[in-house]
């Protein structure tokens, strides 16, 4: 009942926010470098996301930024889960792998986690800290609760405490393949270009253009026929995967934060709109906009695609 009340209050609060003053920036607005996902691939079988005991799984964390992606440092560990029912994931025992990078590196963390031969749990918990543009804090006890973690040392950089899981294929029903994104389109035309840095002059260039105050339709197209059928552990019945798309733009508004690929929606769409803002006027030469989609099958499989277009007056 308490969760019911929380959700209802959340819906009502959301409905009232428009009348109750300023609201925080929506989750799709990319204003800082941030972690957006992690792509899991079994080393010897990259299309599979679920390692078996004794196999090695590669976990490639994904970070995006409005501008140039800054360097990374990290401290991440892998362990067996505790028996908690909810809350921030914590280890049920000492980690079996610890990954440390205290020297700044350009790319986001790519971890190769070897699942022990005698591993019995159905999940590996991966948690730690990633510091972008700074040095990760190593002042932590890996077996303590995550509340004590500090992502970055001092005031340099942007840090995130991260947590995720890797499903271990202890039985065939847990096997999972990775979904793939095929394309992103603007008004039906495929977007093909990427940029290093958003908010750069672009009018008249190679990027497709969207006018200020003009609604533009963006379409997310996955590779067809890749939604797997599996037995849902909660409903205990056969279910076909839904693919969740997390959407990000560096400016403007989207009418959705998430879209879903399901039976009736093979290629979901979202509407983009940028309105004139007196505090941030759009110059005549326009501004480049990054559009990023991270697709998840909610069973450990992910893909990411980044494209760009130009916003013009």
């Amino acid at each position: 009942m308490k969760l019911l009340v929380r959700v209802l209050l959340g819906v009502l609060a959301l409905a009232s926010v428009g009348a109750c003053g300023e609201s925080p920036d929506p989750g799709y607005l990319l204003k800082r470098q941030r972690v957006v996902g992690a792509i899991r691939t079994v080393v010897d079988e990259p299309e599979r996301t679920t390692p078996r005991p004794g196999e090695t799984v590669r976990m490639a964390w994904q970070t995006i930024a409005p501008g140039v992606v800054e360097s990374h440092t990290w401290l991440i560990l892998a362990c067996a889960p505790s028996d908690q029912a909810f809350g921030v994931p914590v280890c049920g025992g000492p980690p079996f792998e610890i990954f440390t990078q205290t020297t700044p590196q350009d790319g986001a963390p790519v971890l190769e986690i070897e699942v022990p031969e005698d591993y019995e749990a159905e999940q590996v918990v991966v948690l730690g800290a990633i510091c972008m543009g700074g040095i990760v804090s190593t002042d932590l006890d890996p077996t303590s609760t995550i509340e004590d973690l500090r992502p970055c040392q001092g005031d340099e950089g942007t840090g995130e405490i991260v947590a995720g899981t890797i499903t271990v294929e202890q039985r065939p029903g847990l096997r999972n393949l990775r979904p793939r994104l095929m394309s992103l389109s603007l008004r039906g035309e495929e977007l093909t270009e990427t940029i290093d840095e958003a908010r750069q002059p672009c009018a008249g260039g190679s990027l497709p253009e969207v006018r200020l105050d003009e609604e533009a339709e963006l379409t997310i197209t996955p590779v067809p026929d890749q939604r797997e059928t599996f037995v849902d552990p909660v409903l205990e019945e056969e279910t076909v995967e839904e693919l969740q798309n997390s959407l990000f733009v560096t400016e403007g508004t989207l009418n959705r934060r998430f879209t879903f690929v399901d039976e009736g929606t093979p290629a979901p769409m979202v509407e983009f709109l940028a309105e004139a803002d007196a505090d941030d006027p759009l110059p005549d030469e326009g501004r480049s906009v990054k559009f990023i989609v991270v697709m998840r099958d909610r069973r450990g499989g992910e893909d990411i695609l980044e494209r760009a277009f130009c916003l013009v007056p």
Binding site: M1, K2, L3, L4, R6, V7, L8, L9, G10, V11, L12, A13, L14, A15, V17, G18, A19, C20, G21, E22, S23, P24, P26, G27, R34, V36, A38, W61, S82, D83, Q84, A85, F86, G87, V88, V90, V126, L127, I146, E160, I161, V162, A163, G164, P233, V234, L235, E236, Q244, S246, T253, N255, R256, R257, F258, T259, F260, V294, R296, R298
Partner: protein, 882 residues
């Protein structure tokens, strides 16, 4: 053996003189005849029609003293006594006794030439004692039927003003008049030397209407009553809306603290839109719920620790949609009684406070109706007689939210509304008096709320808040109450209620909560008064509910105190529960009237089938009347309640939980001056809670344990001025200073933390003033400490779902800013021959204060902005009454 004063020994002597104010009438009579021969006026002296026995002063009687008191009496043109004074004091209490009696005399007025004329007379009141009767065999005490006495006051319903001059007539069973008297200026009356038995008492209040009650007079007992009559007219003489008289006999208190809101105030508190149950918010001890949600937060207790009752039966849902409007039309209510703590054994299974809602009997003096329309809802109500001994009422109400809903949803919130929020409620009441000893009340009522939206591919920053979001609540009950006066000392009260309840909530495929239950509730209470000083009560109340519950969703957790970080994705396998919840309770109570003290001792035992455990709660309260309207009161007792269903159910909870216990203590002083219409009080309280149910860390088995403790202490100050004819002003001032704390693991070095709903200062001032020409204005001011909350000090990125989980700081270590708000209400009535029209404007938060209720965070919890409460809400409405 001394006897009472004999009527026949009185000497009646009249010596009248015209008072100076009487002269003009005689002078004018003389002037008329100036031209001709001066005629002598014909003067007829006043005749005593209603004699009133004086009370023989006890000490003088014991000393065998006798005397005659000469009293000067001024008699008005209607024969009533307007002034009386002793010519020559006799002392020994005789003067006061004589004055008290003669002031209640009634005369036929003096006349001059046939015109009633005020006069002043001298009257000699003799106090004589009977000769002792010859010795006779003394019968055993129990075989001598000592006479009893009926005494009390006649007051008005609206403002407790005395109805001086009201006639009180006692008739025997054969309808012959036994005794008759007239209430004094202060509304008091006394009829002594009544043979034990049953009498019909008729109170004739002239413009206040009349009423009939049945009273049982016990041998050697004093029956103390208060009769309340409704005024048929208000200020202007052409107002003529007689609704008939009602009389309420007040029972002596069983609780240390009871705060009541009567019918007149129930629907006129500013900011409540005429909602009677909302009026409780102005009483001391009641904390403010966030967003006006309607949760009942009493003396630092959680909302689930308090209970509202309708005619003694628990109400499942007090408000539509969690706080919008109460489930019953306010005009069907007689009174709302609020017990913030130390309540009697009549109520069990709760540790917080009790709200008892009492309905009124439908009017039987013809067809009456009310139709009301406002921006919130539209309602109809009708009352009518059903034969000679029965009356009925029917009410229906529907919300108007769906009309305005679409206009308040932000445009960029892309949701589809499948079912606009709509609520209904209905009531059908019948009151029947088949005999003088029996009263039967049948209440049928129900409520329905529905709301469904389609959020499409999610709204907000949680990917799981999508698809259909729906809420349905529905209940329909039939309640039968039978009250029987068994004999002069005992009565029986039986309640039975039955009805289905449905509660359904859905959130896509992630949460589905569907509860269907048949609720059966019964209460039987037997009251007996073996002597005038002792009252005994034995009661049984039982709750039986077959139910089915289907649940899909995250594991339940203990939300209070922040130990619940359930993610919507933490979904359990669907669970079904099918069973019968049984909760019987037995209670015994004894009240001892040892004037000036009164002691109430009670014992209650309850059983709960979910945890298969019994519980025993003893309780005590004491009152001391120190005179001058002051009363001291104290109470101590155990109050226990069972765990919530989800805390003790198999699979999701811990079936080995025990009852949660608390001890309530209270000490205070009350002042009551009904002449001035003032009530005031100061009360201190302390509560200690143990065996509180708390959740384990992150829900590890056994998920819930009885290891929490709590403490609540504070002080309440209250002042009330009732609206009265002389001063048509209602004022209710309440101030509570309080601290409510919890510890979830007392064995550790954990400090006490603030309770989620702790509000240190709660100040409320509500006032209404009745202006001429049927205007009424009112305002309510609230200044309340902000609720505590737990700050979010960081976040964890949950890569599996692309969401962030908050990291919390110290529990409830920060407070929202001070809350303040002013509500105003204006109402204008137009009274016509047989109906009335009212236009009202109720503005909540008149200066649109942006009170912070919490914080809205960005999806990564790095930024926050204040989440403010409800803005200014004007509610304009129109009401017609037949």
């Amino acid at each position: 053996m001394l006897g009472p004063m004999r009527d026949s020994a009185l000497v009646f002597s009249v010596c009248f003189a015209l008072a100076s104010t009487l002269l003009p009438s005689v002078t004018s009579a003389q002037a008329d005849d100036e031209e001709g021969e001066q005629a002598q006026p014909v003067v007829v002296p006043p005749q005593l029609e209603e004699f009133v026995e004086a009370t023989y002063p006890p000490e003088a009687q014991e000393a065998g003293l006798e005397t005659t008191v000469e009293v000067q009496i001024t008699i008005a043109v209607d024969g009533s006594v307007t002034d009386a004074s002793v010519v020559e004091p006799q002392g020994n209490g005789f003067d006061e006794a004589a004055l008290e009696a003669v002031r209640r005399f009634r005369f036929s007025p003096a006349t001059v030439d046939g015109t009633p004329t005020p006069v002043r007379i001298r009257y000699r009141y003799e106090f004589t004692l009977d000769e002792p009767e010859p010795e006779e065999e003394l019968l055993p005490e129990e075989e001598v039927e000592r006479p009893g006495r009926l005494e009390g006051r006649v007051l008005t319903v609206e403002d407790d003003e005395p109805v001086g001059g009201a006639e009180v007539v006692l008739t025997n069973e054969d309808q012959s008049i036994a005794r008759r008297t007239v209430a004094a200026e202060d509304g008091s009356f006394r009829i002594g030397e009544l043979p034990p038995g049953e009498y019909q008492v008729r109170i004739l209040g002239a413009e206040y209407g009349d009423q009939t009650q049945t009273e049982s007079i016990g041998a050697g007992e004093v029956t103390d009553v208060v009769y309340r009559l409704r005024s048929a007219a208000e200020e202007a003489p052409d107002d003529d809306l007689s609704f008939g008289a009602t009389a309420v006999v007040e029972a002596p208190p069983r609780e240390v603290t009871r705060r009541s809101i009567g019918r007149e105030q129930l629907t006129s508190i500013p900011g409540t839109r005429g909602d009677a149950l909302r009026a409780v918010e102005i009483l001391p001890g009641v904390a403010r719920p966030a967003f006006g949600s309607g949760a009942l937060i009493v003396r630092g207790a959680a909302p689930g620790d308090s209970q509202a009752f309708l005619e003694g039966i628990p109400i499942p849902l007090l408000y539509h949609f969690g706080g919008l409007t109460s489930f019953i039309q306010s005009r069907l209510l007689e009174r709302v009684d609020f017990y913030p703590g130390n309540f009697s054994v009549r109520y069990g299974r709760k540790m917080g406070g009790v709200l008892e809602v009492e309905t009124r009997d439908p009017r039987g003096d013809g067809l009456h109706g009310v139709a009301e329309l406002s921006v919130i809802d539209v309602g109809l109500l009708a009352e009518f007689p059903l034969g000679e001994n029965a009356t009925g009422a029917f009410g229906l109400r529907r919300s108007m939210i769906d009309v305005v809903f679409n206009n308040v949803i932000p445009e960029d919130l892309d949701i589809g509304v499948t079912q606009l929020p709509v609520y209904y409620d209905w009531q059908a009441f019948v009151t029947w008096r088949p005999t003088d000893r029996d009263k039967v009340k049948m209440l049928a009522y129900g409520s329905s709320d529905r709301f469904e939206i389609f959020a499409g591919d999610s709204i907000g920053d949680d990917p799981d808040v999508r698809g259909d979001i729906s809420l349905t609540t529905r209940f329909n009950f039939f309640h039968l109450n039978w009250t029987r006066q068994i004999d002069s000392r005992s009565d029986l009260d039986i309640d039975v209620q039955y009805g289905p309840t449905r509660l359904n909530f859905g959130l896509s495929d992630l949460i589905e909560f569907d509860l269907l239950s048949q609720q059966i509730y019964t209460r039987m209470e037997y009251t007996t008064r073996p002597t005038s000083k002792v009252r005994l009560i034995a009661g049984l109340d039982a709750f039986v509910s077959p139910f089915t519950l289907d649940y899909t969703g995250p594991a339940p957790c203990q939300g209070e105190g922040g130990n619940c970080q359930t993610d919507l994705d933490d979904t359990l396998t669907p669970i079904s529960f099918d069973g019968v919840a049984t909760r019987p309770g037995l209670y015994l109570e004894s009240a001892f009237d040892l004037a000036p003290t009164r002691l109430v001792v009670g014992l209650r035992t309850d059983y709960d089938s979910t945890i298969d455990r019994w519980n025993l709660d003893p309780r005590f309260s004491g009152f001391l009347d120190v005179g001058g309207g002051f009363k001291l009161k104290t109470g101590i007792g155990l109050y226990s309640q069972p765990p919530e269903f989800q805390e003790s159910a198999e699979v999701i909870g811990n079936p080995n939980l025990d009852w949660i216990h608390s001890v309530h203590t209270g000490l205070g002083v009350e002042y009551d001056n009904s002449d001035l219409g003032i009530k005031a009080g100061v009360e201190g309280f302390y509560k200690y809670l143990w065996d509180r149910v708390v959740g384990t860390d992150n829900g590890v088995p056994p998920r819930f344990i009885n290891e929490g403790v709590g403490r609540i202490f504070g002080m309440e100050v209250s002042f009330r001025h009732q609206m009265r004819r002389e001063i048509p002003l209602f004022v209710q001032l309440s101030y509570t200073l309080m601290r409510s704390e919890r510890r979830d693991d007392p064995d550790s070095d954990q400090d006490w933390r603030l309770f989620d709903f702790d509000q240190t200062h709660i100040f409320t001032l509500a006032a209404s003033y009745r202006l001429p020409k049927n205007w009424e204005v009112g305002a309510a001011i609230r200044i309340i400490s902000g609720n505590p909350y737990t700050p979010i000090v960081g976040s964890v990125y949950n890569e599996d779902r692309d969401t962030y989980l908050p990291l919390y700081g110290a529990n409830n270590s920060v407070r929202n800013p001070l809350f303040h708000r002013v509500d105003v209400r204006v109402e204008k009535k137009w009274k016509f021959e047989s109906w009335m029209l009212a236009l009202f404007l109720d503005i909540r938060n008149v200066y649109n204060q942006q009170n912070q209720e919490g914080l809205i965070y960005s999806n990564d919890f790095r930024e926050s902005t204040p989440l403010t409460g409800l803005p200014i809400i004007p509610a304009l409405g129109i009401r017609g009454e037949l």
